[in-house]
């Protein structure tokens, strides 16, 4: 009996960590890109939430999770578009606009959801998974870790791709310059505004994808306010990753574990109120900030609008 229980607990822990960690991974990867380019995206929570709503709607009406992911990406990008116009082009305060986008997205998703689904409350079916041959037969963790929706593998590949772009391509260099010393980038003949715009749009797209994963693969349903601060966690993760994409994976999984630990403990017969579970990841973030706070790195030109010719 003990052996069986241990397996159940471990499976719950690992698969729960992935379900909770993957949306975080997408979101903080997006934030990492935009932070490095100098756009602090406080509106990330709103982009994620809108992505979750748009993703659910797309998957529900299109009867396909892939269409859902696409509409989720489109939804996140749509909110990011406001960020681009207001903050990058017009040079307005990134924090005020970020708060506005988060509050506005909370309001609009809840309103639309209430107007459409308040009486029916439809759910999506489960998402097909792809098993990696061989690895998925490992006992206990095999089925839960190596049998995932395809989008998870794509996400992991994306992290590697972003790491490669930052390290070894001109595009990555431009992105970094836009956050470190935008004047230098401008002098080199590359448009700072265009670079930052693309970075902010990428952040929106990835946050939207993260939100869509949350509603499509994670919950199977859209609930107002369902992101519950994950967007803000994504910002912290990107900060603590100090611009290195690989750390985003590690960080997201750690937070995924702290999100799923109560379910696992409940299976083990230890009853812990769900509120502790909600608290745990944020406590972990605060501890990380207290311990590593001095070492978290943000680009010098972060959150400062760039206007050509100004000092």
């Amino acid at each position: 009996m003990h052996e069986l229980l241990k397996q159940a607990v471990l499976t719950a822990l690992v698969s729960g960590a992935l379900v909770a960690g993957v949306p975080l991974m997408f979101t903080s990867l997006g934030e990492l890109i935009s932070e490095r380019a100098g756009v602090l995206n406080i509106g990330l929570e709103g982009m994620m939430l809108f992505g979750a709503y748009a993703g659910f709607v797309g998957a529900y009406y299109g009867h396909s999770s892939w269409l859902g992911y696409l509409t989720g990406i489109a939804g996140g990008t749509f909110i990011a578009l406001f960020m681009v116009v207001f903050c990058v082009w017009l040079g307005l305060d990134q924090i005020v606009v970020g708060i506005a986008l988060t509050i506005g997205a909370e309001g609009v998703t809840s309103t639309l959801d209430g107007a459409q689904f308040s009486t029916t409350r439809p759910r999506l079916g489960s998402v097909p998974t792809v098993s990696i041959p061989g690895l998925s037969h490992i006992s206990v963790i095999g089925p839960s870790v190596f049998s995932q929706p395809l989008v998870v593998y794509l996400g992991l590949a994306l992290v590697g791709l972003v790491a490669w772009i930052f390290r070894s391509t001109n595009v990555g260099l431009n992105l970094r310059a836009a956050g470190e010393k935008p004047e230098a980038l401008d002098a080199a003949g590359v448009s700072v505004l265009a670079t930052r715009s693309w970075a902010a749009l990428c952040a929106g797209a990835l946050a939207g994808l993260g939100g869509a994963y949350l509603s499509i693969a994670g919950a199977g349903v859209f609930v107002p306010f369902m992101t519950q601060g994950r967007g803000f966690m994504g910002i912290v993760l990107a900060m603590l990753a100090r611009g290195r994409p690989i750390w985003v994976i590690i960080g997201s999984l750690l937070f995924g574990i702290s999100l799923s630990i109560t379910t696992a403990l409940q299976l083990a017969g230890i009853n812990i109120p769900i509120d502790y579970a909600f608290m745990l990841p944020f406590v972990a973030v605060m501890l990380a900030l207290i311990i590593f706070g001095r070492r978290s790195y943000l680009p010098p030109a972060l959150a400062l609008p760039y206007l050509r010719g100004s000092r």
Binding site: I42, F86, I99, L112, G114, P224, D275, P305, L307
Partner: protein, 386 residues
């Protein structure tokens, strides 16, 4: 981070932050009109945009806004609107105080709900042993101290390690909301009721009403606090130091201001006032706290604090307007069969339109800025150079 970055030192003889307010600025529009446009314009635009969305959803915007007026003013409803103002004004006072120093306390929800849970839990026990008036005073203090304590970690991290307070206060908000739930479902839960909530106070244990009305005296506390905060910010050295810090942290250091201490003070006061807001709401209206509640009053107050240009007195009419919107909105959204979160959308839209007005204001050289002098100045200098 934002506040330390490239704001150049002010000229030693005429500090910028003084010049900003005392020298008349040339403007193409007359001052009152200018203020009106900048203050009311974004609100009107947001209401129009909200109306368009209502149309798109197949609801009649005229009926909707008419319902808001009806549900918030007519008959007895204005008294509810006045009562709603009490917590909003107290939160606004707390936010004005800290935003003046250009520090972002975004942890208001956590501070508010934790203070609410604390006093809702302690109130019945306290009132069993002490006179009602004494326990009410004590409960206000408990709420304030709880709110203040919840800002300590972000304050210290900001002052001594330079960790961005936006992130830390947001994290503390989520911890605070969960902790409030743990308290309400755990030690403070009323064992006689099935739904997790604290023991309800009897009517005699709540804040007394102003004679001949249903309005509780919390609103008087709120107005008193607004006046005190306005006095402190505009007439005392503490207020001046906060403004110097907000205008330019480096100037503050050079002027010999104890910046670290000032940051911590600003946080503690802000948290204290937000705690008081929870006391006014719980002891004035509810008498108990239910699990999984989040009033989200702070989110609603933020745009109005900026629209009032961080002036504690100017906040009052804006808060009155939003109270009307939120009290009447409960009725209106119900009639339109929409969730009350629709009002959040309007709040977000107000912030967006405010930012836009800011942009066109800078272009057309309308008067002052919503933002603190240092930030606005840096932006304006850039706009002029562009």
């Amino acid at each position: 981070m934002t506040e330390t970055a490239e704001t150049p030192l002010a000229h030693p003889s005429i500090p910028d932050f003084v010049a900003e307010e005392s020298l008349p600025r040339e403007s193409r529009l007359s001052r009152p009109l200018d203020t009106l446009i900048r203050g009311v314009g974004p609100v009107v635009l947001a209401l129009i945009a909200g109306g368009i969305l209502l149309l798109a959803l197949g609801r009649n915007p005229v009926t909707f806004y008419g319902d808001i007026y009806q549900g918030g003013i007519t008959h007895d409803a204005w008294q509810d609107t006045v009562m709603r103002m009490a917590p909003l004004l107290l939160i606004a006072a707390g936010l004005v105080f800290i935003f003046r120093a250009n520090i972002w306390n975004l942890g208001y929800d956590g501070q508010f709900m934790l203070a609410a849970a604390m006093i809702a839990g302690f109130a019945p026990k306290l009132e069993a042993h002490l006179a009602v008036w004494l326990s009410l005073v004590l409960l206000f203090l408990v709420a304030g101290v709880t709110g203040a304590l919840w800002t300590v970690v972000p304050a210290l991290l900001k002052a001594y390690s330079g960790v961005n307070e936006i992130i830390t206060t947001l994290m503390m908000t989520f911890i605070g909301l969960s902790l409030a739930n743990v308290l309400v479902k755990g030690p403070f839960q009323d064992p006689t009721i099935n739904t997790p909530q604290t023991t309800a106070l009897p009517l005699s244990g709540m804040l007394p009403n102003i004679p001949h009305t249903r309005v509780h005296v919390g609103i008087l506390v709120a107005f008193a606090v607004i006046l005190i905060v306005h006095y402190v910010l505009t007439r005392t050295s503490l207020g001046l130091r906060l403004r110097v810090l907000g205008a330019n942290p480096r100037t503050a250091v050079h002027a010999g201001i104890g910046v670290k201490r000032l940051i911590v003070t600003a946080f503690l006061v802000s948290g204290f006032l937000i705690g008081l807001a929870a006391a006014a709401e719980i002891l004035g209206i509810w008498g108990y706290v239910r699990a999984d509640t989040n009033f989200q009053y702070g989110d609603a107050v933020i745009p109005f604090v900026f629209l009032a240009r961080l002036n504690a007195l100017a906040v009052v009419p804006f808060v009155a307007f939003y109270s009307l919107l939120s009290i009447g909105g409960e009725q209106a959204t119900q009639n339109a069969n929409l969730p009350t979160d629709f009002l959040l959308l309007i709040v977000g839209l107000i912030l967006l339109f405010m930012s836009l007005t800011e942009y066109f204001g800078r272009k057309r050289d309308l008067g002052g800025s919503y933002l603190t002098a240092g930030l606005a100045q840096a932006l304006r200098r850039k706009a002029e150079n562009a």
